[in-house]
Symmetry: C2
Subunit: 183 residues, 2 copies
């Protein structure tokens, strides 16, 4: 499909939110990534909280998958962060990168992973973010946003919202996170 | 990691259930698949309901990813099936294949996609399936089961259960399934 065809409205770019306290949010975004990649689509993953390290299976996988761009803007999980101002600055920087990628029209699918935290913690202005997306997101671009506690304004804007709730988690039983499953 | 190391219990094989009526169950299984694949693990996906056709982005992707085995046992979605006996027969055949793959010890992660239907619709005997898994699943094998309406006996057996509930879905707005997102 050429850019012209996409622009002619053959495709409706969906805004998808995976939220809730259960496991499966980033994981489902990764699953959509592989599906889109299978169709030859151009994919960009922007991770807002996780640092780029070699231990993540998904990062290792993406390196093996031509056509997937992977950007990590976070400085690790918030509750490990010693400097909250630095965390805020990185979220702002992440949003700057995201805006550039979204507005470029160069992608079929963009994932803003753990982005809800930047909105829920007030590092970014929620209404400004949504207004910007409404004005600038290409109509044919699929956008996935993950993270707990997605604000109502975001889910109202989205086309597809799934809430992942925890029924049972092995951490509760004292079982450690397993490579290939948790990361 | 050698088979000996795995057998020595360095790893705890998790039983994971992604259930509920929201979008993201198979998608999260695919995300875990890519994560495991990134770690160089040996993955087998067994799809119980979807026919193998070229249109699925995930099937196309798997063909490009060395080390992922992909088996489709279904004859399409149930409500399209003209011959329910045939559907039941294929579920039984799928479970036969699954048992062989699980017992082989040749995999790190096996996904039984849409398997809950075979249990919920009574094509397979639920208690027999769980007893077989308890007796035969290697301790270090990660097993993911997806599908709506996971029976309580299954979630009791599982280590990790996430319920995906639909908050909003574009079908409700008359928006068609999008390539790269829905399939």
């Amino acid at each position: 499909m050429t850019r012209e065809e996409r622009r002619n409205g053959r495709r409706k770019g969906l805004v998808i939110v995976y939220t809730g306290h259960g496991k499966g949010k980033t994981t489902a975004a990764l699953g959509t990534m592989i599906r889109a990649w299978g169709h030859g689509m151009r994919v960009c993953m922007i991770q807002f909280l996780k640092s780029e390290t070699g231990k993540w299976g998904e990062v290792r996988a993406a390196r093996k998958m031509e056509g997937i761009e992977w950007i990590s803007t976070g400085d690790g999980w918030t509750w490990r962060s010693k400097d909250m101002d630095e965390t805020t600055a990185r979220a702002l920087r992440g949003w700057e990168i995201a805006r550039e990628k979204i507005a470029s029209g160069d992608y079929d699918l963009i994932i803003l992973d753990e982005f809800t935290y930047a909105l829920a913690y007030g590092w970014l202005d929620l209404q400004e973010v949504i207004n910007w997306l409404k004005a600038n997101k290409p109509d044919d671009l699929h956008l996935i946003i993950t993270g707990r506690d997605a604000p109502t304004e975001l889910t109202t804007y989205a086309d597809l919202v799934t809430n992942m709730s925890k029924i049972k988690h092995p951490f509760d039983e004292g079982i450690m996170g397993q490579p290939g499953i948790e990361f």
